[in-house]
Structure formats: structure tokens, C-alpha cells
């Protein structure tokens, strides 16, 4: 119980402002503004929230200047304040803008770290001397380099978004990036394409008279661009569709045909051979009983029945 009160007292001593003009005042003002903003409505709420943030930023900046957070004798407090500023400026915007937050964080922190060099003891603006300038130049350039690294990371993310199939591949030889496993099974986009090819095929072949089926197969032998176009319309558009080329192989099997749907990936890959993914459908003629028929007449129409098996393989080599 005593330890609890002691801890409580030390916290109060830390937070309570020793005098009006101190950083604790600003932090308390910030908490007050946040509470007030939670209790009010737009647009006052936004204004109070922003005010709360601004007080927090100034308060933290002041606090960390008086008690700098150090890593091996190097104060990182400007980076903390810079992070708060960036969160405030870019935090509540959507995805694209959040990248800007990361990219602006190092330069803003560098500017904060160098502000005190621009004012002399009388708080007048005075340009720094050359030795100090040299240090500032190096500080600013290092932080800009870190921004470039962040931007490169975002470009990599956009590539992975444009070409999702790349994630299924092996990045061992890369001199630039490593791949971290998310533990999720990622299907190459070809799987989506093949699955969506099934419905146009069904439309064209299932439950149709056998002669139509054979005519269609003859027309579309090896070249299924028409139904591919139809299939692609149903899928969300992706940059990498350019590199997928679907093909159709027709093999006769028993009384019907085996349709081998293959989607070949010709885009960036880790091996020289092409990768492909395969789906086999077969179409068989089925005799249908004419219910109202005369038992002696066997004029039963023959229709095709399409049955597709699930996808197989993300395989290498030429199909």
C-alpha cells in the first residue's frame, strides 16, 4: 500500500507543473483539449483535437529538450517530436497520404534538430558558422537518404500490389529485397483466371447439343481469346494480366474430350522456364431420356456435360 502511494506521489511530482511556464502545463493542456474534443461535436471537435495535438507536440518537444532521450550520447528527441508532427499532419488521411508521413518524418526531424543552431543567445536569427553548417548538411542529407529508403519500400509494396503473383515466387537470389512469409497461402492470379474461365465454358458447352459442342471446340481450338476476354471482364483488373496467357488443349478421351485449360505466367519470375497453372475439364456426351417419347423411338438428344476438376499445380516448364 505504501509503495503504491509512493509510486503515485512520484508520478504526480513528475506531471505537476513546477511553474506555469513549463512543459507539464502544455501536456496537461493537451489532455484537457482531447477530453473536451471527445465531449463536443464537429466542427468544434476537430478544432479541439487539432489544438490538443499541437499542445502535445510543443509539450513533448519542450520536455525532450530538457530531458533528452539519448541513444549512446546522441539525442533522438527531434525524431520523437518529428514523428508526432507527421502523425498529426498525415495520420488521418488514407493510405496514399500515410506514405507521405513516413517520407517527411526524417527531414522534419532534421529541421527540428537543427533549429537551435539558427538562433543565437538573444533568440535572434543568425546563420550558423561553417563548422556547424557542415554538421547540419550531413545531418540533413542522412535523413533525406532514410526518406529515400522509405520511398523505395513503398515502391516495392506497389509492385507487389500490381503483380501479386510475384509473392508466390522465390526471392533468394535477390540482391535488394527479402521476402517475409505472411503464412497465408497465396494463389497465383492464374488460379483466379482459370476459375473464372469455367463459367463462360459452361455457358457455351454445358447442356448443349453435342453437335454444337463439337462445332465450338473446332472453332476455338487452342485459341480461347474470346472467352478469356469475357472471363477477364468479371475479374478486378490487374496490371499483371498482361503477362498471363491462357491456352486450351483439346484431347479426345473416350467418347468425349478432355479440355486442358492452362494459364501460363510469362512475367518476372525466378527461373528461366515459364510457370503455368492447369485446370482439366472434360466434356462427355450424355444421352437424355425423352420423357414423353414413344418407347420404341430412341430419338434422344445427346447433350454435353461439362465437369471441371479443381486446379492443379503451379508448375515449371513448358506445358
Amino acid at each position: 500500500m505504501e509503495e503504491f502511494t509512493k509510486a503515485f506521489e512520484s508520478i504526480i511530482k513528475f506531471i505537476a507543473p513546477p511553474r506555469a511556464y513549463s512543459w507539464q502545463t502544455l501536456i496537461l493542456l493537451s489532455i484537457f483539449s482531447c477530453i473536451m474534443s471527445a465531449l463536443s461535436h464537429n466542427p468544434l471537435q476537430n478544432f479541439l483535437a487539432s489544438l490538443g495535438w499541437i499542445f502535445l507536440i510543443f509539450g513533448v518537444s519542450w520536455a525532450t529538450t530538457e530531458n533528452p532521450v539519448k541513444i549512446a550520447d546522441f539525442s533522438i528527441s527531434p525524431w520523437i517530436t518529428g514523428a508526432l508532427i507527421c502523425i498529426f499532419l498525415f495520420g488521418h488521411w488514407s493510405g496514399e497520404m500515410q506514405r507521405l508521413g513516413w517520407i517527411f518524418w526524417p527531414p522534419i526531424s532534421a529541421v527540428l534538430a537543427s533549429i537551435h543552431d539558427f538562433f543565437n543567445d538573444n533568440l535572434e536569427f543568425s546563420p550558423p558558422t561553417p563548422p556547424v553548417k557542415q554538421r547540419l548538411v550531413n545531418l540533413l542529407l542522412t535523413n533525406l537518404l532514410i526518406s529515400c529508403w522509405f520511398q523505395f519500400y513503398f515502391i516495392l509494396q506497389s509492385w507487389v500490389g500490381e503483380y501479386p503473383t510475384l509473392l508466390t515466387d522465390n526471392f533468394k537470389r535477390s540482391a535488394f529485397v527479402i521476402k517475409l512469409d505472411s503464412g497465408q497461402e497465396i494463389l497465383p492470379r492464374g488460379a483466379l483466371i482459370l476459375n473464372s474461365l469455367e463459367s463462360p465454358l459452361q455457358k457455351n458447352l454445358d447442356n448443349k447439343p453435342w453437335s454444337e459442342v463439337e462445332l465450338w471446340l473446332l472453332e476455338n481450338k487452342g485459341n480461347i481469346d474470346v472467352i478469356t476476354e469475357e472471363a477477364k471482364k468479371q475479374l478486378p483488373k490487374s496490371e499483371e494480366d498482361l503477362w498471363w496467357s491462357p491456352r486450351l488443349k483439346i484431347l479426345s478421351a473416350g467418347s468425349g474430350y478432355n479440355l486442358e485449360l492452362i494459364s501460363v505466367w510469362q512475367g518476372p519470375r525466378s527461373q528461366p522456364e515459364e510457370f503455368y497453372i492447369r485446370k482439366i475439364c472434360n466434356i462427355n456426351p450424355v444421352y437424355v431420356q425423352n420423357s414423353a417419347a414413344n418407347a420404341t423411338e430412341l430419338s434422344s438428344p445427346v447433350i454435353g456435360k461439362l465437369k471441371c476438376e479443381p486446379l492443379s499445380g503451379w508448375l515449371r516448364g513448358t506445358p
Binding site: P130, K133, V137, P272
Partner: protein
């Protein structure tokens, strides 16, 4: 937002190359331009950082302008260290030679900019001062010499640092 690809090697290799280049070029600047060790390392840091950042900005600017086929090649090279359906790797050698010259010019300009920024008295301004005041200004430790001597020193420094970087890359290839 889960991290699935991360440019770890980029950061590590670039930091390594920067440190090596700064060390080598700092040493050469110190020897050739008679600067103090500290000043020459600081100069080398600034010009190398400047060149690297300019390189990144160039990449960010030119990549979106490439046609789709070339973009795929770049993606393929960065992720898989090979080109798409194109076995010829000589483009890398061309890129290396081009990089050397671009680096050299950029570093030279960076050094001149740095000297202007830091108000380093150059030979020309020293002459002007001499004729104005008619007396010898004591030798300034930051005096960097004339333009052409600076250029040759930068050329030497760039050549040496690139050679060391090439050595590291060859070692990595043989590993």
C-alpha cells in the same frame, strides 16, 4: 499492413558502400588536398550522401516514365536478379560504367557546392583578397586548390572508391 517484402539488403549494402566510399575518398582528399582528416571525412560524407540521394531521386523520377516492358525488366532484376527472357547481362556493365561517370560529375559539382556553402576560400578569392589588401593571408587549412586540381582529385577518389565497391560486389558474386 503486413510487411511482405522488405529492402533489407538494399539498406545494408548501401550503408556498407557509403561507409567504404567515405573512408576511401576521405583518405584521398586528405592526402591530395592537404585538408585535415576531420574536414576531409566530412567533405567525403557530404558528397557521397548527395550523390546517393540524387541517384535515388533519379530512379524515382525515371521509373514511372519507362514503358511497360522495361518496367517488368526492372522488377525482374530487383526481385530475382535476372532479366526477363533476355539472357544478355551486358546491360549491367554499361550501367556500371555510366554510373561511374555520373558519380564523378555529381561528386565534383557537390564538392564545389559544398565549398560555396561553407564559404571556403578558393584560390581565386585568395588572389582577390591578396590584391585588395596587399598582404599575405595566412594559409587557411581549408584551402582546396584550383578547379582542375579538385577535378583530378575527385576523379582519383571516385575511381578508388568504385574499385573497392566493385571488389566487394565480386566477392559477393563468388561467395
Amino acid at each position: 499492413m503486413f510487411i511482405n517484402v522488405f529492402p533489407l539488403q538494399t539498406i545494408l549494402f548501401q550503408s556498407l558502400f557509403l561507409l567504404v566510399a567515405i573512408a576511401v575518398e576521405g583518405f584521398i582528399l586528405h592526402k591530395q588536398l592537404n585538408l585535415t582528416r576531420k574536414t576531409s571525412i566530412e567533405y567525403a560524407t557530404s558528397i557521397n550522401l548527395f550523390t546517393t540521394i540524387l541517384g535515388w531521386v533519379g530512379f524515382f523520377y525515371f521509373y514511372p516514365l519507362l514503358p511497360k516492358g522495361l518496367k517488368a525488366q526492372v522488377v525482374s532484376y530487383i526481385f530475382f536478379d535476372r532479366f526477363l527472357d533476355y539472357q544478355d547481362n551486358s546491360i549491367i556493365i554499361l550501367a556500371a560504367i555510366g554510373t561511374f561517370f555520373v558519380n564523378f560529375f555529381t561528386k565534383f559539382q557537390a564538392l564545389r557546392l559544398l565549398e560555396i556553402l561553407l564559404e571556403v576560400p578558393t584560390a581565386i578569392s585568395q588572389q582577390a583578397r591578396k590584391s585588395l589588401f596587399g598582404k599575405n593571408q595566412g594559409s587557411v587549412s581549408n584551402l582546396s586548390g584550383s578547379n582542375s586540381s579538385q577535378a583530378s582529385v575527385i576523379l582519383l577518389a571516385t575511381a578508388c572508391s568504385h574499385s573497392v565497391i566493385l571488389l566487394i560486389l565480386v566477392l559477393r558474386l563468388l561467395k
